[in-house]
Each structure stands twice: as structure tokens, then as C-alpha cells.
Amino acid sequence: MEQTARRRLGRSLAIRQVDAGSCNGCELEIHALANAFYDLERFGLHFVASPRHADVLMVTGPVTRNMREALERTWRATPDPKWVVAVGDCAANGGVFAGSYAVAGGVSEVIPVDLHLRGCPPSPTDLLRGLIALLEQAR
């Protein structure tokens, strides 16, 4: 895996997280990825502050209509090649918020999604497993 990552991404995968209307449960588990138990940076995965520095957009939430434009603009600001990871059941299809006047109903309604990581919220282990799989498949 280390070789794959080095060859394709120069030893790192930079992730920009975008909350597009989550309940903040997913953010708690994404935060946990950085704690000493999961320590995601040892896999060459790290979070960046700007979409312009990112290879991956990690998007949570059912995409509220009030966040739709911000998500689209963040996606456009991310340079190619880029991957979109939709995290959580809401990001997959709106989850419990599907059908509301206020939500678009899932990330793929707004921008193309490369990987869905399901769960409400997915555990840090699930998140890590998904990200490593992406790292190995990314071309």
C-alpha cells in the first residue's frame, strides 16, 4: 500500500472535509481519525484547510439547500484529479432527512461521488478502511 500511495500521490492524500448539513455526528468520528488510536497521518492521509490543496473532498450531510451552492463551489475549487467521498447515510441518500423541503437528498444529487461510506455515523475504523481502499484504487 505504501508503494501504491507513493507512486500515485507522492506519499499523501490531502482531504478537505465539507459538512453539507450533517447533524455533526459524522464530524465527531472524522475528528476521531486524528486521535492516537487511529492516527490517520501514518497512512499518508491528512486533512487540509483549503479545497485548493485537496485531492479528496469528504462530504457529510444530506446536502441542505442552503449549503448546495457552497458545496458546488468547493468542488469547483478542488483541482483535478479529485475524488469525492460521501460519508454517512445522509450523504448517501438524505438518510432520515430525505424528503424535506430543505435538503437536496444526498451528495450525488449535487456533485459526482466516487465512494460512499455508509453508517450513522460510520465508525473511525470504517472510515479508515474506506480511505485506504480509495488510496489503493486511485488512479
Binding site: A34, A70, Y101, P121
Partner: protein
């Protein structure tokens, strides 16, 4: 007679609203209630609407009441006009229900950003077309001022919101928040939902407070149905609520220090938080304990081996936290950042009546567990820590002391845990219930109206952040821009809980 009792007596009582009274009142009584709020004889607990009516929840000491006013012309006398803490709640009511506060000081939309394709989605719906209007921010005028717009997409892994700073050099002259980006329409989804679905929605209003919300909703439903959860469930719920508080406080203490570039506290506190979540995941099947509290009881019992493991964990947490507290207290460079930063003045705390560490770091004593003594807290020993300084440091210390209290509460709960079932049926019946639960960031209010078939007619959930967000604007004034993350994290308001 207290103000609350007088106000209730003037109205027409709703006979199936429990456990606190609700009355339909006239405009005259409504104005008296506004007066009681404006003169600080009562505190505002909530202001919400149902189609055609507005409801005002007040507290006076340990007394709580709800006043309801019919709005035949789609208007009601503004509470925010004389009592600023109601302004944003009224703007939300106007956006969602089309009920206009007459005399309101701020008529700008709040949750409605002009992007739903519909106006007043929960009242008289109107199609909304065209491009979303520009939001008129408040003016700041003077020499050498510049603006810093931040968000809604922030640099860290946090929720979206917009902050408009006006600064003079490094000093913040004004901060204006614009929220509503994560409005999901929870009240709309609640209306007509079966109980189980509504409980899931309540538990996803603010994920970090999922236990507090699920508990507030369950207790409101049980009040409406006139039942109590089984004794064992009541204790397990409290155990979950205290674990949620401990985990979040660990997370916050570490994160505040991290925003002062003291990463070591963050790393250690992150380990403590993770241990609590891992225990919850193992014992209850969900690390955040989502959907573990349900109307009628709890979804999962506590196994004897998990109770034993928890006792061991409590000792470890206590042992490992003590040196971290010492580290916090003894690191001058860190104290230099937190002491005297972001001071909340006592008069603002009295006025806005914020719950949680925001209020209690500025002399407020209110804690719903103590004030209302809902079970099992009536049978448990604990203190409500308070401080007077109102700065970032005081808000850290409230959390530190609350961790100690909560660890002791969990121990007491394990000692006193009764046997028996952990759930019971909720018989379908029409009724209304209100509950106030102390979550980690303050009191969560849940109000519910149930139909005879057991479905939810209406539910309103009020996050503690409603009365904390506006105060963040006040405490940053005169501080440097670089201290905003520190102030913000010490408040740790919920965007999702506020935006609904």
C-alpha cells in the same frame, strides 16, 4: 404568587399538557409576559410556533410554563422588541410559519436563505422563485475598519456557518453571525411522523447531544402519554447522558487547548474521549449512543460484564485526567491565552439566560438536573460547579469540574442500578408534553403534541445554542481576531441543533 403562576391563571388552561402548565392567553397577557422577561423576572426557555399560533416557554426559578397566543392575522406582538434573546427565535418563526412579530427589531430572514423553492414551508406555503436575495449585514462604520468574511465552509472539520468580522487592525470591533446553512427541516419531518421515526430525528438534531435530545424527546412523549419509563431504564438513560457529557467535555477541553496551539492536551484528551466512546460502542452497540434512548425506555440493557468494565474505566479516566488538569493549570503560556479572553459579562448572562458552561462560567447556577430534579437525579448526590470570571479559562474549568461530578454520578448510578425491564409500551393517546434535559452544552427543550393514534402532530426542539450564539458575538468584541477560535471553541455552540 409568582409571575409565571399569574400569567397562567389569566389564560385558558390546556388540560392535557404535562408536566408543566400551558395556557392559551390573550394579547394582553402576552404583553405582560414580555414585560416579565424584559424586567428579568422570568427567563426565556423557548419561543416556537404551530400553524397559526405562537408559544412562549418561561421559567422562574424552578417553575416552568407555556403561554400560547393565536395569531388570526398571522401576526403577534414581538417578544424580541423588548427582550433581545427572542429575536432569532422570532425570525425563525417568521421564516417557517409566516407569523410576523409586530414591532420586531430585526425583520431579516434567518433560516430561510431563499433557496428552498418555498416560503413559510410549515405555514401558508408560497412558491418562491428567483435568485436568493443578498443578505444585508449590519453596518459597521468608522475609520480604518476592514471586514473578514469567514465561511460557511470553514478551514477545520467543523459545521458550516458564516462569520462576518469587522476589525480595526487585529481588534474585532463587531462580529455578526449568519446561520441556517444546515437547516434540514426537522420540524416539518416530525409533523405526522410515527413515534419511532420522530425519535430518530430527535436523536439527529445535534449528533454530539444525541442522548440529551433522545432523552428530552422521550420524556416529553412519556409526559404526553402520562407514563414513566421503568426504573432501570431511567438509571441507564442517566448513565448514557453522563457518559455523553464526559466524552464531550474531554473533547472540548482538548480542542480548546489545541486552538491555543497546545497540542499535547488535545492528544491526551482525545485518548480519554475515545475510551469512553469505545465503551459505549461495546456496551450499547453505538459509540455515540444514537437511538439508545427511546420513548418508553432504552433500546439496550447494560450487561453485568459491561457494568464491571465501566467501573474499571472510571478509575482509569480519573487517574489519567488528574495530571492533565495539572498540566492545564500549570502551563503559563496556555493560561496566557485562556485567562481574561472572551469575557461574558454577568448582565448579559442574566439577560440571555444561557445554559451549560457558558452560563455557569458567568455565575448562573441553572442546571436542569438540579433545578427540576428529574429522575434519577433527585436520588443522586452532585454539585453544580459555577465560576464568576466568564472567560475562556472559566468555561474550561466548568467542564473540568463537571467531568469530576459526572464520573461520580456514573459510579452512583452503577451502585444504585435497579433491576427489571428497560422498556415499556407507549400507549397511543392524544396529549402534549414538555421536557427540559441537561445536555453537555446546556438545557435541551423538547415539546411534543401527540395525536390519538400515537403519531407526532408537532414537535419543537430548542437547542441551548439559541441563547449562546448571540453571546459569542458579544464576548469577541475587543479581542484579537486570532483569539476567535479559542472563544468559539470555548462556547462550542451547535450549528445543526440551532439550524434545525
Amino acid at each position: 404568587m409568582t409571575n409565571v403562576q399569574t400569567l397562567i391563571k389569566e389564560g385558558l388552561p390546556a388540560d392535557n399538557h404535562r408536566p408543566f402548565p400551558r395556557a392559551r392567553v390573550t394579547g394582553k397577557t402576552w404583553l405582560k409576559a414580555i414585560d416579565a422577561l424584559a424586567t428579568e423576572q422570568c427567563s426565556l426557555l423557548g419561543l416556537w410556533a404551530t400553524p397559526g399560533s405562537v408559544h412562549l416557554a418561561l421559567s422562574e426559578g424552578t417553575e416552568i410554563a407555556v403561554l400560547s397566543l393565536d395569531c388570526p392575522g398571522g401576526r403577534f406582538p414581538s417578544v424580541g422588541d423588548r427582550h433581545a434573546p427572542a429575536i432569532r427565535l422570532e425570525r425563525a418563526v417568521a421564516d417557517l410559519y409566516g407569523l410576523d412579530p409586530v414591532g420586531g427589531r430585526d425583520t431579516r430572514p434567518w433560516l430561510d436563505h431563499g433557496r428552498w423553492g418555498v416560503r413559510h414551508p410549515l405555514g401558508a406555503r408560497e412558491a418562491a422563485t428567483g435568485a436568493p436575495p443578498a443578505y444585508p449585514f449590519l453596518a459597521s462604520e468608522g475609520e480604518s475598519l476592514h471586514q473578514i468574511p469567514v465561511g460557511p465552509v470553514h478551514a477545520g472539520i467543523i459545521e458550516p456557518g458564516h462569520f462576518r468580522f469587522t476589525a480595526n487592525g487585529e481588534t474585532v470591533v463587531r462580529l455578526e453571525e449568519r446561520l441556517g446553512y444546515v437547516h434540514k427541516g426537522i420540524e416539518g419531518l416530525m409533523a405526522g411522523a410515527p413515534l419511532a421515526q420522530a425519535a430518530k430525528l430527535a436523536g439527529r438534531t445535534s449528533g454530539d447531544s444525541t442522548v440529551a435530545y433522545a432523552l428530552a424527546f422521550a420524556r416529553a412523549v412519556e409526559a404526553a402519554a402520562g407514563i414513566e419509563a421503568p426504573p432501570r431504564a431511567i438509571y441507564i438513560r442517566a448513565l448514557m447522558a453522563e457518559l455523553e457529557r464526559i466524552a464531550n467535555h474531554f473533547g472540548d477541553i482538548g480542542a480548546i487547548c489545541n486552538d491555543a496551539a497546545f497540542a499535547m492536551m488535545h492528544a491526551h484528551c482525545g485518548v480519554l474521549r475515545e475510551r469512553v466512546l469505545r465503551f459505549a460502542g461495546k456496551a450499547f452497540g453505538h459509540r455515540l449512543m444514537m437511538d439508545c434512548v427511546v420513548p418508553g425506555g432504552v433500546g439496550t440493557d447494560l450487561a453485568p460484564e459491561d457494568a464491571a468494565a465501566l467501573r474499571t474505566l472510571l478509575g482509569q479516566l480519573r487517574d489519567d485526567f488528574a495530571p492533565l488538569v495539572e498540566l492545564y493549570d500549570g502551563t503559563a503560556s496556555l493560561q496566557d491565552r485562556t485567562v481574561g479572553t472572551g469575557i461574558l459579562k454577568p448582565e448579559l448572562a442574566r439577560w440571555f439566560a444561557p445554559g451549560g458552561f457558558v452560563g455557569r462560567a458567568t455565575g448562573r447556577t441553572f442546571d436542569a438536573r438540579k433545578a427540576l430534579e428529574y429522575p434519577p437525579y433527585d436520588a443522586l448526590q452532585f454539585e453544580v460547579p459555577t465560576r464568576q470570571d466568564g472567560d475562556v479559562n472559566a468555561r474550561v474549568w466548568i467542564r473540568i469540574e463537571e467531568v469530576g461530578q459526572s464520573l461520580s454520578l456514573v459510579e452512583q448510578i452503577l451502585d444504585a442500578l435497579p433491576g427489571g425491564p428497560v422498556t415499556r409500551d407507549v400507549p397511543p393517546s392524544a396529549g402534549e408534553g414538555l421536557a427540559l434535559i441537561e445536555g453537555f452544552r446546556g438545557d435541551v427543550l423538547a415539546w411534543v403534541r401527540l395525536a390519538a393514534d400515537g403519531r407526532v402532530v408537532h414537535s419543537h426542539l430548542r437547542d441551548p445554542s439559541w441563547f449562546q450564539w448571540p453571546l459569542l458575538e458579544a464576548v469577541i468584541e475587543g479581542n484579537i481576531v486570532a483569539d476567535f477560535p479559542l472563544c468559539n471553541k470555548s462556547f462550542n455552540c451547535s450549528y445543526s441543533g440551532h439550524d434545525l
